[in-house]
Point group: C2
Chain length 486, copies 2
Amino acid sequence: MCVWAEGGRRYMVFEVFLKGTLFFPCEPDRGLVRVHELTPEKAGQLIWVRARIHTSRAKGKQCFLVLRQQQFNVQALVAVGERASKQMVKFAANINKESIVDVEAVVKKVEQTIESCSQQDVELHIERVGLSSALSDHTTDKQTDRHAHGGRTDGRATVNQDTRLDNRVIDLRTTTSQAIFRLQSGVCQLFRDTLTNKGFVEIQTPKIISAASEGGANVFTVSYFKTSAYLAQSPQLYKQMCICADFDKVFCVGPVFRAEDSNTHRHLTEFVGLDIELAFNYHYHEVIESITDTMVQIFKGLRDKFQTEIQTVGKQYPSEPFKFLEPTLRLEYSEGVAMLREAGVEMGDEEDLSTPNEKLLGRLVKEKYDTDFYVLDKYPLAVRPFYTMPDPNDKKYSNSYDMFMRGEEILSGAQRIHDAQLLTERAMHHNIDLEKIKSYIDSFRYGAPPHGGGGIGLERVCMLYLGLHNVRQTSMFPRDPKRLTP
Amino acid sequence: MCVWAEGGRRYMVFEVFLKGTLFFPCEPDRGLVRVHELTPEKAGQLIWVRARIHTSRAKGKQCFLVLRQQQFNVQALVAVGERASKQMVKFAANINKESIVDVEAVVKKVEQTIESCSQQDVELHIERVGLSSALSDHTTDKQTDRHAHGGRTDGRATVNQDTRLDNRVIDLRTTTSQAIFRLQSGVCQLFRDTLTNKGFVEIQTPKIISAASEGGANVFTVSYFKTSAYLAQSPQLYKQMCICADFDKVFCVGPVFRAEDSNTHRHLTEFVGLDIELAFNYHYHEVIESITDTMVQIFKGLRDKFQTEIQTVGKQYPSEPFKFLEPTLRLEYSEGVAMLREAGVEMGDEEDLSTPNEKLLGRLVKEKYDTDFYVLDKYPLAVRPFYTMPDPNDKKYSNSYDMFMRGEEILSGAQRIHDAQLLTERAMHHNIDLEKIKSYIDSFRYGAPPHGGGGIGLERVCMLYLGLHNVRQTSMFPRDPKRLTP
């Protein structure tokens, strides 16, 4: 099969006219109808569609196809008769699954709903079919059947995760993957639109940095010409520098790198950070309110604009709809500890939350307040980084917070110390080498407004919103200690 | 000066009540007016403003201040009288420049326009002033004077670029920098909004990759646990995999890494790529039209929504307004070569454009067509990467294109080969080790639609749109072979 032929505005692929002749070049300006546009209103129309062969089943003098385009599919029929020859039916039946075809067909309303397709009220009666991109024979059965179909006809994969990730291109074609990543695109858009409307400025922060912050643990090293550099573990320092530079309210969306040998359902070595930092007027709760309102706008936007995607994912991975309150529930750390103790957990006031305790607290909060999203405020100072602002009223605690979705942490944030002297004192208290963080501390010597912020993990938000159980499902090409491909 | 004190909703910084007493805690819910809101409509009102001391000039019993907030500033006056003591005037005069102050003041309409301020029709008569964030004495004169003011009172820096970049936090406070990066934020937003409206999906591609594409030149190496990895030189492979995975039209905004030892005005080792890839129906010119229309929407959006920023930058760096045509001018490479030859340049048909020739051609195109933006289409096949689709009508050329702003390249793109067999042949022709690009070639074995795209350099677009002359001016924290800080 030839693959190109351009010039003028001719068609770039051969087509096979299935009454026996090759037709080529075809009309270049014929419109292509999208599969999701195939509704009973189009009944009787002769249209062109380009789609993949999802399934194919020959039966006597006819061949039933399911044509798939992204998360939508439609049934199609080639039958021997006035418009199609015996050879054409045979040809259509022999096209490898996952090949891309152009078909000319009449839209017909069906008597009985087609449960297995997204377009349930119509089918296509094919009059011409051309092969737009064929699969070579040896690849078909080996790969595409297992991944795109997984032995089922509903487009949901049943194969194991590593196999799916190894063949990610095919796995991403499933209706579930199409829905997940369309929703992820929506999260980014809602995040940015909400913040832009609040007067935030988008910034671009460097990923190659000269010094590892916070002492150099869990950081990837890069060869940089004749020297070494590091990959940024967070854009925090640069966000703060933008605040010192009077940008007032900033956000950024970009990769974050963690050289952590954690092989869990929720850790990646590279993930996408949705980061916020803002100067506040009088109280760091202004920062919490900005962030929680942004999250609420994301939740509402997903609920209102991405129902199709939520439903599609729910067919393969059923979960309870995501619940949230407005305004967002804010509990103090000590209240959280009290709830855990009441449930039988033994822990100290200044002890950090373990992952099981985080999840348990999530369940207790859900029972008591009926929300899947809440803020835990005023963490013990001892368990937070050196740049965290202490609580001025109780030095045991700090002006810092985590946010949780379905009992798992999606954001960690705080009011930052904006005074070089206090920052130096706190770094010394943590036994941090002052020489290594000199440029960070110096940023605050030229007048810095009080500020705070936080970083949100995009893949976690998508995973937890949809009630999925592995962050690799919401990372298009996940990176972990054991996976660098594709 | 103490830096924090929170609790309840008390104020988090000390203030000095300048009639001699300390007032603290102040009212936390007093509204803060933004400097750009200070217009004659507010005349007579007593308001609070938080801003930086931009300049300060004491003269007898009064002190004139200019208060700056981002790209806006306003004149303010403290004068001995009923509302202010002699000590207060002295105190105000002694506050270090670049400190952040809260002032309570009456807005007064002025008789004569204040040319040196953005708020030209009003001034503030200060009644109270509090220090929100002070500069330590030893830092003031040494740094901030040189950078934020550069010896001038209009907020435009005159110091050299390295000094400015070394002290980027202060340099970013200048009205010019504030305007540049607000406009850059706008470019990203316009890019994404235009594409989202066209049905594109935003994707997130990995930056840590297992194999260096295109043979491994100019790529940064990363230590990855017990093995090595690389930093992605472009998201192209991943964009193409998304097309093979039926996402149809995708874009991404993210860092791109080039280990190229180029020390020029337009090269960075890390820059932000605005990347597009789409399947097309019948002709790769559909791709060019999608991209050029996106650029035109960006140019229009900047012209219509960012005039303040364009004017602000123009005060320090005057340039001709950016001109573009609609639809965008598209020239074939051979036409460009003919224009250059007519202007006396000697070059072969299949020779690549040198940088001086690119600029010359830009000037010739501007003279003839009056546009600062155009597409050069159908590059010689010999000067393009192996994955570029050849022109089916003339094997000397290819279905590839560059786009130029003010005579400098901002995008390189092409129709990509979507057939594994042809791709293999072209790679062999380029003497590329097939083993190294196996996974890339394999991506096309499961049915790929015809597609094309390109990558735009964000910093170059901002630099050339504003008529600036160094890409480091439009990179917030630039990275080049000699610079890794701040």
